[in-house]
């Protein structure tokens, strides 16, 4: 801890092995005061030559600062082996839902015996969490035994997040030497998808309950009039549309359809192009898609439908849960949505098929869609969850629709209009969704900042209009 006469400049940035711990301590000679000595020499010298005591005294000012800076010593961050700084963190919610904001309160304390007049901290926020309010950086003046508290907010994403050691620098009062070190405290945030109860899921009318025509002679509940078709001689008399006959004299046969539990498949877009957010580190569209999938999955199981989950993107072959019902199935689904690697919050390095030649790429993309279609049970309704930031997913949606599956597109909106180019992307996406609607595909546009329930209400109003 003593200067011991070394030339400070050559000492700079030399890591010191620290006894008793693996915290790295690095000294920086900032050169904050270099040049002041020149003032002393020039003014002092000229004052002597010209016999101007004023200049000489002005030189004294410079000389004092030069001496002050040159004798700067790095402050002790360890005394007798113990670190002189400690950190404590508190999360206002240890186990939040994905997308929730969590406030982190940090306390830095000076455990040593000396005053630390210049403590600078950058907290070690886990790499997967995004700071959305305030800042993990802080500057403090700490008397011995005193601490300072500050807070910032992060947005939770799925997974276990451990805080890293906070980066701390203690500078000497003159600012000439900075001693850099780290301070650690074990802090973890566990975030997983919530188990939703039925009150939280106002998701009626998501599925078309009536699939497929059914010839039935039975009446009773759950049977609804569907249409009238031309009378054939084999039709039973009880099915003749007598009202129509009374009006027009023509004979027609009534057709009914029976309420049947729907089979639904949730397809989540996990391609690299789906990892988009309104800001570079923020809660991205894939996370929101998983959130929406969780809600839809639980809600549809509640209404008795059979629901499955799969992904569209890298590693999607092994992410497949066939439609089913029951508590065990519900648990499987939630576990898959929570932690299957195909649904990782971390974006993949490259786009799907980016390294492949253009002509082969189209083939492979086609094959993905064909494979998906082949695995889908017939009459399955498909929910495609994707931000629709490129033309690929809408094409897939249209193809599935053409094959006879009822398609609903649930699209979290990651676009903003901060800058002209971003605004263009926003316009393109809007037009894409409009085009889908124009082709008879139901679209739920989930804007940023609004709750899923609100987005659903808006969409349902549009669907029933």
């Amino acid at each position: 801890m003593t200067a011991s006469g070394d030339d400070r400049r050559s000492r700079s940035d030399r890591p010191r092995a620290d006894e008793g711990s693996d915290a790295r301590v690095v000294d920086h000679a900032t050169g904050h005061w270099t040049g002041v000595g020149a003032v002393a020499f020039v003014f002092g010298g000229l004052g002597i030559v010209l016999r101007e005591p004023g200049l000489l005294l002005a030189g004294v000012v410079g000389a004092v600062f030069a001496g002050y800076a040159r004798s700067a010593e790095p402050l002790a961050v360890r005394e007798s082996g113990e670190p002189t700084l400690s950190i404590r963190r508190q999360l206002d919610d240890d186990a939040p839902d994905p997308g929730d904001e969590v406030t982190v309160t940090v306390e830095i304390r000076n455990e040593g015996a000396g005053v630390l007049t210049d403590v600078r901290v950058v907290d070690g926020v886990p790499p997967a969490l995004d700071v959305t309010d305030d800042t993990p950086r802080h500057g403090a003046v700490l008397r011995p035994g005193n601490g300072v508290t500050y807070a910032y907010t992060v947005t939770a994403t799925r997974g276990e997040h451990d805080w890293q050691p906070a980066q701390v620098t203690v500078a000497d009062p003159s600012g000439a030497i900075e001693r850099e070190t780290t301070v650690d405290a074990q802090t973890t945030l566990s975030c997983s998808l919530p188990a939703l109860s039925s009150e939280q899921l106002p998701l009626r009318g998501l599925t078309t309950q009536y699939v497929g025509r059914v010839d039935t002679d039975e009446g009773g509940s759950g049977v609804e009039f569907f249409s009238t078709r031309e009378y054939r001689s084999s039709d039973p008399l009880s099915r003749i549309d007598w009202r129509r006959h009374a009006k027009t004299g023509e004979l027609g046969t009534l057709e009914y359809r029976q309420e049947r539990a729907a089979t639904v498949m949730l397809v989540i877009d996990t391609r690299q192009a789906a990892y988009r957010a309104p800001e570079p580190g923020a809660y991205h569209a894939v996370e929101r898609s998983v959130d929406a999938a969780n809600r839809i999955f639980a809600a549809l199981l509640d209404t008795g439908d059979r629901v499955g989950v799969t992904t569209f993107g890298p590693a999607s072959e092994d992410c497949w849960l066939s439609p089913g019902t029951g508590d065990e199935h519900r648990a499987h689904g939630r576990a898959l949505l929570n932690s299957h690697p195909a649904l990782s919050p971390i974006p993949p390095e490259e786009g799907l098929y980016e390294t492949i030649r253009d002509d082969r790429r189209e083939q492979l993309k086609d094959r993905q869609v064909t494979q998906l279609r082949r695995r889908l049970p017939p009459d399955t309704q498909v929910f495609v969850l994707s931000p629709c930031c490129d033309d690929y997913v809408p094409t897939v949606a249209r193809r599935l629709d053409a094959y006879g599956h009822l398609v609903t597109v649930v699209s979290p909106d990651p676009t903003t209009d901060d800058t002209p180019y971003r605004e263009l992307a926003h316009m393109e996406r809007t037009d894409r969704l409009d085009a889908l609607r124009g082709q008879g595909v139901r679209v739920l546009d989930w804007r940023g900042g609004e709750s899923f329930a609100a987005a659903l209400a808006r969409a349902q109003a549009r669907w029933s209009a």
């Binding site: 040049g35 002393a40 005591p53 004023g54 005294l57 600062f65 007049t117 600078r120």
Partner: protein
């Protein structure tokens, strides 16, 4: 609107090396994932400009005030924009004014004060840039800045005061050698007493 993927001026991505006369990277997003605003912190800009202005006002003659104002402008702009070089030039301008005043035979009081204020302005300006680069504008750093500037002001004032007091003790002669010895002695004492 420039693409956010282009690196900002003076940003360094390796370790802890920053050029001495580097201009602070005042535009966020220069390092991957860094959205904080690294412009110099506000209080220090005000303090630096304030000290530079004081240094201008204590210039020996009114003609030198012009040079002082130029220096203040440079210090203010440099401190606000994050350019240590500009702050340096501003301080040099102020000190040049002091030097010229000294040549013209000005009394020691304004010379000492102007020099002191120029050095403190230079210190505060550069410090604000450093803190901005490290902690950014949003972080709460007022206490740290005030502590730094305050302590340096105390040191400077004390020593300038002592030197001036020693000067006043004499009967107005030109005890240059004596003063020089004082100068050396004071420095050494400061150095060893830390």
């Amino acid at each position: 609107m420039s693409s956010p993927t282009s690196p900002g001026v003076g940003a360094s991505r390796d370790g802890s090396i920053a050029a001495d006369h580097g201009d602070g990277a005042s535009d966020g997003d220069t390092v991957a994932g860094d959205r904080t605003d690294h412009s110099p912190v506000r209080v220090s800009v005000v303090i630096a400009t304030g000290y530079a202005l004081l240094g201008t006002l204590t210039m020996p003659t009114s003609a030198l005030v012009v040079i002082g104002l130029l220096g203040t402008l440079l210090v203010g702009i440099g401190a606000g924009r994050g350019s240590r070089t500009a702050v340096g030039y501003g301080a040099v301008a102020l000190l040049s004014g002091v030097l010229i005043g000294g040549f013209q035979g000005a009394p020691p009081e304004p010379l000492i004060l102007s020099t002191l204020f120029a050095v403190l302005a230079w210190d505060a300006g550069r410090y604000g840039i450093t803190i901005g680069e490290q902690l950014g504008r949003e972080a709460e750093t007022v206490r740290v800045e005030v502590a730094h500037v305050g302590l340096n002001t105390l040191v400077g004032t004390a020593e300038a005061g002592l030197g001036y007091a020693a000067y006043r003790v004499t009967a107005g002669g030109q005890p240059v050698a004596a003063l020089f010895l004082l100068l050396v002695g004071a420095v050494v004492l400061v150095v060893t007493l830390r």
